[in-house]
């Protein structure tokens, strides 16, 4: 790791952390007292290197994930003081040291000084998730059991894909969200694609500016109903337009869900994007 020289704000240097995890054995991302969480394990390892922290190193995450959900490419940032960085001593390979201390279920890919204006959460312009389902068409692979929802009946991915397109664009996704007081459920779904891959696994990929709580798993539940012939396009459209949480469709198991990518703009736009996202958030919470 090269020693950071710039982008110090209030005496702190911001680092961008890129990492992956298998969420099976974790109670989600966010730290919770007494529970095994991804953030809890990461903070514990960082504390061993950088010393005790009172503010979780100012850590912020791009895509908060629920219990059992996986991440192939997650992004966080932390702010470290010169005193904390000094503790690196003669071994500045933070990636190797963190990975050595943690379970192989969490793997740090990069830990490097962030570009100016970078905020892991607020600079992000999109999040991309993938949900995997094995229907009765596929030969079941035990090595995929933690990452694929196994169904014993047939799904029609073409019908699912057609119906899915009705959800595209800027919509109030309240019907598919576990609402939080004061938080908006309006999201911009930029892409949704359902297809059967070469291993006969049905992949549902979704890309949006952001997702509200449970949104992917609720949409997948509705699309499974379509794929199994229990609902049609009109049903899905009606559900969306109701814009109120419904229990018509099952929120599917977390294990099939993986955060695939966090999208950021070019370095020159990181700060502006962060300001825009923050402003929107302030409006939400007003």
């Amino acid at each position: 790791m090269s020693q950071p020289v710039s982008h110090k704000v209030d005496g702190l240097t911001r680092f961008r952390v890129d990492f992956a995890y298998d969420g099976t054995d974790y109670t989600g991302w966010a730290k919770q007292p007494g529970l095994k969480t991804v953030q809890g394990d990461l903070l514990a390892a960082m504390t061993t290197i950088f010393g005790p922290t009172e503010n979780d190193f100012g850590m912020r995450i791009a895509g908060r994930t629920d219990a059992g959900v996986h991440a192939a490419n997650q992004v966080a940032h932390v702010d470290l003081s010169d005193a904390q960085l000094k503790r690196l001593g003669r071994n500045p390979n933070v990636v190797a040291r963190l990975n050595h201390m943690m379970s192989e279920a969490i793997r740090i890919h990069e830990f490097k000084p962030a570009a100016s204006g970078f905020d892991a959460r607020f600079s992000a312009i999109y999040r991309r998730y993938r949900y995997q389902i094995s229907d009765n068409f596929a030969q079941k692979d035990p090595k995929q059991m933690r990452y694929v929802l196994n169904l014993t009946y047939a799904l029609d991915p073409v019908a699912m894909n057609e119906a899915a397109q009705l959800l595209l664009g800027l919509n109030d996704f309240a019907s598919f969200c576990k609402t939080r007081a004061g938080a908006t459920t309006i999201r911009d779904l930029k892409r949704i694609k359902v297809r059967r891959n070469s291993q006969n696994i049905i992949e549902i990929e979704l890309k949006a500016d952001a997702f509200c709580h449970n949104m992917v798993r609720s949409i997948v539940g509705a699309l499974i109903a379509v794929g199994a012939g229990k609902a049609n396009q009109a049903d899905l459209k009606r559900t969306l337009e109701r814009a109120k949480r419904v229990e018509t469709y099952k929120t599917v198991e977390p294990k099939g869900l993986t955060l695939i990518e966090i999208g950021y703009p070019a370095d020159s736009r990181l700060g502006i994007q962060a300001e825009r996202s923050r402003a929107r958030r302030t409006l939400d919470e007003a």
Copy 2:
């Protein structure tokens, strides 16, 4: 499943069972009192369908695997009486019923009447295994943590592959086997190939008539020493020629090992092959 009509021997119908498992949470294939094993779980599920058994349904396995070793395509046979088959009743879908009763860590792919002369173990003409290693070249994938040995140093797969070819052919592999009294350690290694795949995982693939106990994992340990520059071709050749168990090289962890394929001859040769294998085994044990 079509009702079997032929190949009845001593009133029993032989079935071929094709299946896969993730061995992580099992104490190997073979049943052991009080331990969670693949065979133990399979027998329990079969007993629910076919009733109690005094001889484990005459079950025989093609490639017995150790604790923590996986199988992508394992083969076994069982012999069932008409009385046992009658218990299928109106639901002859044995595959679905077994899978429903077992953990997703074991998945039955096929359960069907065997061709005449078929013996899962003795009719087999080869076994193919794959061992996977991630060295410091690859970005670590938490979803592979149960199937790939993670190393923090670099390996040279080209050097490993070249050295590996020295092991080819009919050899006494005693140096790489945990010997069992009276059992031969002479094996015919038909193919061995080391390569870095498109995901930067080093794959070591071995094909032999059969493998003795610990053979793949001991060979992989020796090849890792070669790949890390700690041993050369001459060392490997000397080890093979010593033909006596050595502790020079580490027997690697089971988690990287997967049984990929059991090879059988054409149906017309199943019986003859079984007789040949049995005869050889009798010589071994004489």
